[in-house]
């Protein structure tokens, strides 16, 4: 649950980028890191293997500024996508306030996306969290690749997004869709803390 | 039984002594202990090591060289500590009836054997 400090008027939320191996989760954070001015972000902590595969997690704290008089900070995490690392995925997922599911739009990665989404549901359930209660958005990444290699957003929505939540086409390598995705999940996460929002 | 354990037993056998232990001086952790009845060995180790470190600086500052024996008398008992080399400290806790002279001798003996 988001951490709210009424005395100092601060809000801290944990957002986890989830998805299959090599779908572009780390790339999303790297892009955010590169765009946000240094004064508004911390160091990006990446626990990765030599080949840049995420081993434990990436972590990037950013400071949004003041919202309704609360200094609002987001902690962005990525999980390791490789199926081998499920134990560490569960650990990173603990206490998440929102999830960005980064799918790989390539047709040949279709099954990996489905498997990873099922894994997310299982891991949340194991922590006593109903997926339907968890703020989530989808990002269909690598849309810059040739048309014949990637699936369209509508197809991916049909396969993955049964709840009909917000979804975004993206090319995280060049940055398109990264901002929109972060904005989408931010709104959902903060909505839980707002007047007229669903009870937390 | 190791030499250190044997030495600690001898200290504990002195009249009035409630327990003895070997403490790692830089960490304040118990290395070995003997019959610490009703005494929190962990706490004494941490505090005695901290005390010994400060007293060592005080003694150095006053030009006394290194402390050889530290004796702290409380209302109901006494704490004795003797450095054994750079890294270790032999510590004993006794009640008011403790034979302090003999206890000190045993501590010094133990420290010589260990250092």
């Amino acid at each position: 649950m988001s951490l709210v400090n009424f005395t100092a008027r601060e809000i801290t939320c944990k957002i986890v980028y989830y998805g299959p191996g090599r779908s572009g989760k780390t790339t999303n954070l790297q892009y955010v890191f590169g765009r946000v001015p240094e004064t508004r972000r911390g160091r990006m902590v990446s626990l990765a293997t030599h080949g840049d595969r995420t081993l434990f997690f990436d972590f990037l704290p950013i400071e949004l500024g003041s919202i309704s008089g609360f200094t609002t900070r987001f902690q962005l995490y990525t999980v390791p996508g490789q199926s081998y690392y499920n134990a560490t995925r569960k650990l990173v997922l603990q206490g998440a306030d929102g999830v960005v599911f980064v799918a790989d739009s390539q047709a040949r990665r279709f099954d990996d996306n489905i498997e990873s989404l099922q894994n997310l549901q299982e891991n949340l359930l194991e922590q006593g969290v109903d997926v339907r209660q968890m703020p989530i958005v989808f990002q269909y990444n690598k849309q810059d690749l040739p048309r014949d290699l990637v699936l369209a957003r509508a197809d991916l929505d049909e396969a993955l997004n049964f709840r009909g939540v917000e979804s975004f086409a993206a090319d995280a390598l060049h940055g398109s869709g990264v901002f929109e995705t972060l904005k989408g999940i931010s709104e959902l996460v903060l909505r839980k803390l707002a007047v007229g929002g669903p009870a937390a | 039984m190791s030499g250190a354990e044997h030495a600690l037993r001898r200290i504990s056998a002195v009249r009035g002594v409630r327990g003895a232990m070997l403490v790692s001086a830089p960490d304040g952790l118990v290395v070995s202990e003997s019959s610490m009845e009703d005494v929190d060995g962990r706490a004494i180790a941490a505090l005695a090591a901290s005390l010994a470190g400060r007293l060592r600086r005080a003694a150095g500052g006053a030009g006394l060289g290194r402390p050889t024996v530290i004796q702290l008398r409380g209302e109901t008992g006494t704490l004795l500590a003797v450095p054994a080399g750079e890294e270790l400290l032999v510590v004993a806790v006794g009640d008011r009836e403790t034979n302090l002279g003999l206890a000190r001798l045993e501590l010094l003996e133990a420290a010589r054997g260990i250092a």
Partner: protein, 153 residues
């Protein structure tokens, strides 16, 4: 020293006085900061908390896999500075303390007073406040402005 809730201040300042610790970070198991002393940048605190919680979670899992009970504490003794990482139960779930100390203190001293500190915290924890809405209904406008500014758009 910065604390999220006032009641943590008393026990924390006693711990700092007695242990002579340089840095202290108190966090929840998921890495949210509850209190800290000694850090200058709040974003660095968050990174330290994320890593500390990660280490605790993974060693806990490791202990579980090897069929041993949960580790009480992890100590790293460096040449200049030592670190203690230790979990403890509170009425609000498991919390984690990360303490850095120099030669003016010791592992023994830090562990001793950390134990007292966690006992005090566990005994003093008030029930979680039931909180109402925090943000205004139309917070999106401010959020969007903040995010746009952040991304230079």
């Amino acid at each position: 020293m910065r604390v999220l809730e006032g009641w943590v201040s008393g026990p924390l300042s006693r711990f700092l006085d007695e242990s002579a610790a340089r840095l202290v970070l108190l966090m929840t198991s998921s890495g949210q900061v509850v209190a800290q002393h000694g850090f200058t940048r709040s974003v660095d605190v968050m990174s330290a908390a994320a890593l500390g919680a990660g280490i605790m979670a993974s060693t806990g899992e490791l202990a579980h896999l090897m069929g041993s009970p949960r580790f009480g504490a992890l100590v790293h003794q460096g040449t200049e500075q030592g670190l203690l990482l230790s979990g403890f139960d509170t009425p609000r779930g498991r919390w984690i303390g990360l303490v850095a100390f120099g030669p003016e203190s010791s592992v023994g001293i830090v562990q001793l007073f950390f134990q007292q500190f966690t006992d005090e915290i566990a005994a003093a924890t008030p029930p979680e406040e039931q909180r109402g809405p925090v943000l205004a209904e139309n917070f999106e406008h401010e959020l969007n402005a903040s995010l746009r500014a952040l991304f230079g758009r």
